[in-house]
Every structure is written in C-alpha cells, then in structure tokens.
C-alpha cells in the first residue's frame, strides 16, 4: 500500500467526519440553521444529510483495505487495535443505519455534542496509524534548520502573493493605489511577513529546545505537532469561529478539537509514509513533512506557490463568508511553504551559509523588531511626504484586498483593548441570541382600523433579494439594461437614500414586516405580535399571495393566504415564475372584492444562485458584473411584463407597487463578494421605488432625497391604506408619504441603527443618510463612510469624534432594543 493511497484514504475519511462536524456546527448556530440548513438553501446538502448514514459505509470501504497490511504484518499491538477499530466501525455503521443522527441536528446542545463526537472516529484511525507504523528513527533538529525554513517560507509566501497583485488589481473594485502607495504597502507586507515567520521560529525553537531536555527522540516531534495544533486552533478561533458567532468558550473547544484532529490525522499519514532515501538522517521536520516530501512536489510546489494561492482563492471567492475560506486557503499556503522551504534548504547546504543558533535567534529578533516598526514607519512616511493618498489606514486596508496573506496576517495580529474591546464585547453580548428565551412584544402602529371612504389600494411588494440600487437605471444613468424599471420609476417615487435596517435577509425581511428593529434573535416566536404588516392585512381585509420561503412561517396560516412558488426550491424563486403564477391566480379570482396583497422575495440575484448560472460574456454588460447584470435584466423584463399586466387589467391605478430589496450585495468591492455578516455601503444601500395610485398620489407628498429605511415600508402602507400610523420612536419606521401641505420632515438630525443579521456588526446612519459608521465586532474594527455628491459612499478618515459620537448612539439604540424586549445580557 503506497503512502499516497493511504494519504488519500485518510483524507477522504477525515473529510467525511469533518464535513459531518461542520454540518452539525452550522445546525448548532441558530442563524446558520435558520437561514441555510432549515430552508435547504444549498440544494445538495439535504440529500447528503438524509443519506449520511449510508455514506458512512463508503468510508469503511475506503479505509479497510488500507488497514489490511497492518492486520497481516504489523506489530501485534497494532494488529489488535486495527482489528478493534474495524470492528467498532462496523458496529457504528450498523447503529447509524438504525439511528440516522444527522437528521436530528438542530440548534441545541445535543448537536454540539454530536459535532465533537464526529471527531472521535478519525482521531481513532490516526491512533491506529501511529500504532501500526514503524516508529521513525529521529535525529535532533539542526539548530538553524527551523530558522532557515521559516525565513525562506516568509519570502516564498510574500513573493507568491506579490506576484498575484497585477492579476488582482484590474479585477478588484475600488482599489485604486498609486505606485508610491503600492510600494509602501508591499514593503510593509514584506516586513510583516518576516516578523510573523520569525515569531513562529522563535516560539518553535524555544519549545524544541525545551523538548530536547527530555532526551527522548520523539519529544521534538511531538512538540512540533503540539505547536502546529496550537497555531491551527488559533487560526480557527480567530477566522472561523468568530465569523460563525460562536461564543468564546465554545469557540476554543471546537477550534482545539478540530486542530488536534487535523494534526493527528496528518501525523498518522506521515508515519505511514515510506521514509525517503532510507531516512538515514531524518529529524522531526523531515518526518512531519513526509506527506509533501516528494522531490518533484517540493520543487514544483515552491515554484507554483502563486498558482496554488490563486487557485485556492478563485475556487471560493464568489461564495465565501467574508474571506473566511480565503483565509483558510492562505493558512494552507503558509503551511505548504513552511514544509517545502524546510525540506528544500538542507539540499542547498552548499549555497546557504551555516548559522549558529545564537545568530539565528538574533536575526529572528531583529526581524520581529523591524516588522513591528513597519506600520509606524509607514505612518511617518505618509506624514513626511504630505501625500494624503499614502495614509496607511486606507493604503494597507486596500492592499489587504490584493494580498490575501497580508490580510490573514493582519487579522491574526489585531487585538483590541480599552474602549474598543469594551464596545465589541457589548455588541457580542447583544447579538445572535440563538439560545436565550425572549418574549414577543406587541407592536401596534394603529389601535384600531377605521373604515375609509375608498377601499385600500392593492399592494404588490417585490423584495428582490440582493438587488443593488446601482444596477437599476433610476439610480445609475450608466445602466441600460433595466428599461422596464426605468419606465416604472417615471410613474413612481424613487427614494434616493434608501437603506436596509439589517444586512442580509435573516432579520431584514422580518424587520420590514415589523416596521422596526427587533432583538437580535432568529426568531422570537410567535412573531405575530410584532408583525405589524400582518396586522394591517388583517385589519384592512387583504387577501394575500405570498411566495413560499423559509420566512413565511412567521406569518400566521390563514384562509386568506395563497402561497406562491410552492413547487419551486427557494433558491430558484424568480420574478418571472412568481408573476406568471400570480397572474393566473389573480385571473382565477377576479370577482373577489377584497384588496390584493402580493409579496415575493425572488432569489435570482443571490450569490449562491449566481454561481450555478452559465457564464455571461463580459462584453454583454461592460462596466458591470456580467452574470449579476444578466439576472437583473431578466428580472426587469418580467417585472415590466407584470406592470403591463396590471395596466391591462386596470389594477395598476388602484395599486401600490413597491420594488425594493432586503439588502444589497458586494460585487468585488475591496475583494468582497456576497453579503455575509457585513454592513458595507453596497450591502445596506437598497433601491426603493414606490408607485402610488394617481388619485392617492394627488393628495400626498413625499421627499425622495430624504433618508428612508426598509422599516419605513410598513408604516407607509398604513398611511396609504388610510390608517395613519403612530410614531413609535427611534427604533421604528415612519410613513414616507404624508398629506399634501404637510411634507414629511427630513430626519436630518436623527440617527439610525443598522445591524447585521448574522453577527455582532452594527452601523449608525446619520446626517440624512450621508454618513455611515460601522463597528464590526467580528473583525474587531470600525470604519466610516461619507456619501459623495453622486450618491456613492466613500471611505472616510476615522476621527475620535466620529468614533465617540457614533459609539455612544449605538450603545443607546441597542440598549433601547434590549429594554423593549426586556433582555439583559449575561454579565
């Protein structure tokens, strides 16, 4: 059995169990469960989960042949454990057939336990691999080897990502760096890489020196393994667990468990590999990197490191969770570079000068100190030059979008203290409250519904998931592919400064229905007491046509409701299919006198859907992301067709038609794609176009250039239905239309809290929608944006005043929500 085959078999075995573990973790995370698992947003996952217990037998089939040699010829202890492992696997497989546990996964502590238990079988296999392998003979690590390996890896990694910058620059939106700024960032990146890898060397060398005191050959090896596990746990904790909003203790346990598993499996594979060249002079480094020690692989890998980095990024960039997968890819590149550099250098002994341990230590300390001085020096260079474009705050942030390795390095090194740390703790304590119990709050814009002289208007509400305002011609003159929306806008009010209260669908749509902000929990049930839209529909006697998605359960099931798109997977909901069904439903009920309310949330622009679409040539939509623009154009055609239908049937002049989205979408800005848990301007700015029946419009006025929010839509519907809503305060919306002669006031001194649906990320919107302050407790950073004259928002230099004022308001607003829902965070 060759080492490569064993390696592949162990990889597949670990992939099955780690995949199961990840599924359980996503199910355990309340928002991930509510948004991805339960609604079955990724089509193939439910099928795999349903047959998960059968797939287990495939892992048994793959693993068993690799253990046959050990069963036949291994040491007696090894034979016994291999036999026990196989027997236990068969028992587990039979038990799984009778108890398909994955189908029970949900946001509860049982699922967390299951996630941890998933790590046991591959760990047991790793133990078997160690016990059945020939124990490697080890020499001590030559003192300078670790240093040379780390130094060479730092240069290899830095160079690999540096070479990719010319590729990324034309493909990354919003990263305009002058040559001087680029040079400054490249130098800072180089020194920072040297610093981090020197730090890795210093810690590894010190730990190995301690291990050598044990005078046991294996001690150095296991020390290296423990260091790898620690480093991996740190990366998982910093990069993965925080992005999925796991609490600190859970995060460390999971990160620790996963990293120990990875290290154990890797080590088991390493021990099962045949020793290269008889292994006459192996040390712990040689054995540890055996799985990637093929000579061709070592040389080719180092040369092709940039292509590996590019491939890893390209494979995940469009459906990444705010760089999570990309950062894991960079971690892999770092590990490969460390391995290949460490394996290559001994072969270059004639070229690389010998170094004493003391010299290595001194050089490493010098590299750390120089790296530490890099960022302050960059600030001084910027000040000395007097060039605003060299401000490191912007230059290094933008450069991070081009250099994934530098981006990972910054996120690993960044920590917060004092008021910053205090704020981020506060935000975390009030966010993603999956497992706390909270009672609903009764929200009422009107105490009672009074009779009106005219029947309430029909309402057609199009909440197009992930629709960006700048891909619609009413908001961007460069758009030529939305003629129907343009024509619709000409007969409607185009709100120029519309923002979603929440980034991402999870809380954005329920908040739109509630007409206000809610506790950061998915979901407080029953939702009806907060569902002010439903109260309007009940009070005014609407019959409803609502697309059947995972949020519709927040509405009560009533005879007045007809669900649309029931036979279509949620991710395949499109404007075209929905309006076709809606038209046929309306035609079948033309005699029904009740007013119509129709609502749909088509997902044809969602990242998870777009990656499945065939490629659209870039030349079709110059200046735009072609695949996204093509879907916007398709949506526009069907939307236009439906408006034509409403006109043809005479419904249009008796209808309120709203075209909006629940959030925007990042389409390459600073390397970002999708929306995840972020609140960047392109995510919170939304289109909002409202057509009001002409007779009603003549009696009402609106101010399109004033700030408007997604939570204003429901109060606006109250006003248009002749039920003036009461002012419920800062957390709730207001009508965007008012009686003529009493124009709605511009809320220029008001401040509005915006929030992520899936993480402790909040923003304050102020100055009539011109300024946006974002506090991101996931990444531990804050940003400020200001609206330009053309309506786009531009990054602004952070000042103490911006920070202090917005943080104060943010705490105040979040405190108001907590008070409204009688929520007290754990101390």
């Amino acid at each position: 059995m060759t080492g490569a085959v064993i390696g592949i078999a162990r990889g597949l075995n670990a992939a099955y169990f780690v995949g199961t573990c990840v599924y359980c973790l996503l199910s355990y995370s309340s928002f991930a469960y509510a948004q991805f698992i339960k609604p079955q947003l990724v089509g193939w996952i439910p099928g795999v989960a349903a047959t998960h217990h059968q797939w287990f037998w495939l892992t048994v089939l793959i693993t068993t042949p690799t253990l046959v040699p050990a069963l036949r010829r291994g040491p007696s202890a090894g034979r016994v454990v291999a036999a026990i492992y196989l027997g236990a696997n068969v028992c587990l497989g039979v038990w799984l057939l009778l108890n398909p546990v994955l189908l029970l996964a949900g946001p509860n502590s049982r699922t967390l336990v299951l996630a941890m238990l998933c790590l046991v079988p591959p760990f047991a296999l790793a133990v078997v691999d160690h016990l059945t392998a020939v124990r490697p003979a080890l020499h001590p690590i030559e003192p300078s080897r670790l240093f040379k390996g780390a130094a060479a890896a730092s240069v290899a990694v830095w160079l690999a990502y540096l070479l990719l910058i010319p590729w990324y620059i034309p493909r990354t939106v919003g990263v305009e760096l002058s040559w001087a700024a680029l040079l400054l960032a490249v130098v800072v990146s180089w020194l920072s890489h040297l610093m981090v890898f020197a730090l890795i060397y210093l810690i590894a060398a010190a730990a190995v020196a301690l291990a050598a005191l044990l005078r046991r050959p294996q001690a150095e090896y296991w020390t290296l393994a423990a260091l790898c596990a620690g480093a991996l746990a740190f990366v998982f904790h910093r990069v993965v667990a925080s992005a999925l909003s796991f609490q600190s203790a859970e995060s460390w346990v999971l990160s620790g468990g996963l990293s120990v598993l990875f290290v154990a499996v890797w080590s088991g594979v390493a021990w099962q590999q045949p020793a290269a060249g008889g292994d006459a002079a192996s040390d712990a480094v040689d054995v540890w990197f055996r799985p990637i020690a093929n000579r061709l692989l070592v040389v080719g890998g180092l040369i092709l490191l940039p292509l590996i980095a590019l491939g890893l990024r390209t494979a995940v960039v469009h459906f990444d969770w705010n760089f999570l997968l990309q950062k894991l890819g960079v971690t892999l590149v770092w590990a490969l570079a460390l391995g290949w550099a460490s394996l290559t250098l001994p072969r270059l002994a004639s070229i690389v000068p010998p170094l004493s341990r003391r010299a290595c230590d001194r050089l490493a300390v010098a590299m750390v100190l120089v790296g530490l001085a890099a960022a302050p020096a960059a600030t001084r260079v910027a000040r000395w030059s007097g060039e605003a474009t060299l401000d490191p705050e912007f230059v290094l942030d933008r450069f991070s979008a081009l250099d994934g390795s530098y981006q990972l390095l910054r996120s690993l090194l960044k920590t917060n203290a004092g008021a910053d740390a205090d704020l981020y703790r506060f935000l975390k304590a009030h966010s993603t409250l999956g497992r706390i119990s909270a009672s609903p709050v009764d929200v009422n814009f009107a105490d009672a519904f009074h009779a009106t002289a005219t029947p309430p208007p029909h309402v057609f509400l199009f909440i197009v998931d992930s629709l960006r305002r700048d891909y619609l011609s009413p908001y961007n003159a460069a758009v030529t592919f939305t003629p129907a929306t343009q024509a619709f806008a000409a007969e409607s009010v185009v709100f120029e400064r519309a923002f979603s209260r929440y980034g991402a669908t999870g809380l954005s749509v329920p908040a739109l229905w509630a007409g206000g902000m809610m506790l950061h929990k998915q979901y407080i049930e029953p939702f009806s007491p907060m569902n002010t839209l439903e109260k309007l529909l009940d009070g005014a006697g609407y019959r409803r046509f609502i697309s059947d998605d995972h949020l519709v359960n927040l509405f009560r099931d009533t005879p007045a409701t007809t669900l649309l798109d029931q036979q279509i997977d949620e991710m395949d909901h499109t404007v075209c299919a929905t309006v076709t069904e809606l038209q046929s439903r309306l035609e079948a009920t033309t005699t029904d006198p009740r007013p119509i309310f129709a609502m749909t949330r088509p997902l044809q622009l969602h990242t998870a859907r777009l990656v499945r679409d065939p490629a659209t040539p870039a030349s079709a939509y110059p200046g735009f992301v072609p695949g996204y623009a093509a879907q916007v154009a398709a949506m526009d055609r069907c939307f236009g067709g439906f408006i034509g239908y409403l006109k043809q049937t005479g419904l249009y002049d008796r209808s309120v038609v709203i075209l909006t989205s629940d959030h925007g979408e990042s389409l390459g800005e600073d390397g970002r794609w999708g929306h995840a848990y972020t609140l960047y301007p392109e995510v919170v700015q939304i289109p909002l176009i409202i057509h009001v029946p002409p007779a009603l419009r003549a009696t009402m006025t609106a101010e399109p250039s004033a700030v408007s929010l997604s939570t204003d839509i429901t109060p606006t519907l109250y006003a248009l239905a002749g039920q003036p809503p009461r002012d419920l305060g800062d957390l709730y919306g207001v009508p965007l239309f008012a009686a003529s002669g009493h124009p709605p006031p511009v809320r220029r001194r008001d401040s509005f809290l915006l929030s992520s649906s899936y993480g402790p990320v909040y923003a304050m919107l102020r100055h009539n929608g011109r300024s946006l302050y974002i506090a991101d407790a996931v990444q531990g950073m804050d940003l400020a944006f200001e609206m330009r004259a053309d309506g786009r928002m531009e990054r602004q230099t952070m000042t103490d005043v911006i920070r202090t004022v917005n943080r104060r308001l943010m705490r105040d607003h979040i405190g108001q929500i907590a008070a409204e829902y009688r929520f007290t965070p754990a101390p």
Binding site: P140, R215, R216, D361, L372, A417, N768, M787, D800, T804
Partner: protein, 133 residues
C-alpha cells in the same frame, strides 16, 4: 536511535559553583535554564507584538461631541464647530439660519450654497436657495 549528544551522551562540562553535581547533570541543568530563558524571551517578544498591534482608540473632546449631539445656536460656536467638521451639512444649515436670524442674508446665502455644494440633493438647501432672490 540517532547519534546526537542531546539525546544520548550530553557533552561534559562543569558548573563552577556546584562541584558536587555530576557533570552531565550540571550540563543538563544549564541546558534547561537556557531553554526556559529562551522560551520566556520568545513569549516576551510575542507579548510585545500583541501589545504593539493592540488597537485602543481615544475618547473625543467634549466640544467635538457637543457639536455633533447638541449643536450650539450662536454664530461663533457654530463657526467653531464647522471648523472641526467642515462637511457637516446640518451645521452649515444651522449657521445659515443663524445668519438669517441675525439679519446677515448674504452670509446665509453663502452657507446655503456651501451646503448645496456638499450635498447637491439636500432638499432644505435647495429649497432655501430657490426661495432667495
């Protein structure tokens, strides 16, 4: 097993102030002290890196916060606030209104023009400019 002195035969050396200790023990002790020192140094450097990369922002001055949250009404204070935040349209409009109230229409007009330059779509700035002769 390999032929390294660290694993099999530690080199002989002496510690002058402890002649009663066997050579190999003394050497081992020296190595242990050196290794522990090395680890402490490495951890100290790691701590230094963490400390230097720690972000801790400062609280803004009370005046700056007041301009934003509780803007003044009098002209000198408004001008001082605008010197801090020259692109704050709300302060510009407040100053324009204060100039109007003080009977200084030309200066008020200039402030409305300034507000419209910062935010061409601002309804109040446009409205006031339209109203003025």
């Amino acid at each position: 097993m390999g032929g390294d002195s660290r694993f099999d035969k530690p080199p002989a050396s002496t510690i002058a102030d402890n002649p009663s200790m066997p050579d190999n023990e003394r050497d081992h002790m020296k190595q242990a002290i050196a290794a522990v020192c090395r680890l402490l140094c490495a951890l100290g450097i790691l701590g230094l890196v963490v400390l230097v990369n720690r972000s801790q922002s400062d609280e803004a001055s009370a005046d700056g916060v007041r301009c934003e949250l509780d803007p003044p009404r009098d002209i000198p204070a408004l001008e001082a606030c605008l010197a801090r935040s020259p692109r704050d349209v709300e302060l510009v409009l407040d100053l324009a209104a204060a100039y109007e109230a003080a009977g200084r229409p030309a200066e008020a007009h200039a402030q409305y023009v300034r507000a419209a330059a910062i935010d061409p779509r601002d309804v109040d700035a446009r409205r006031r400019l339209d109203q003025q002769p």
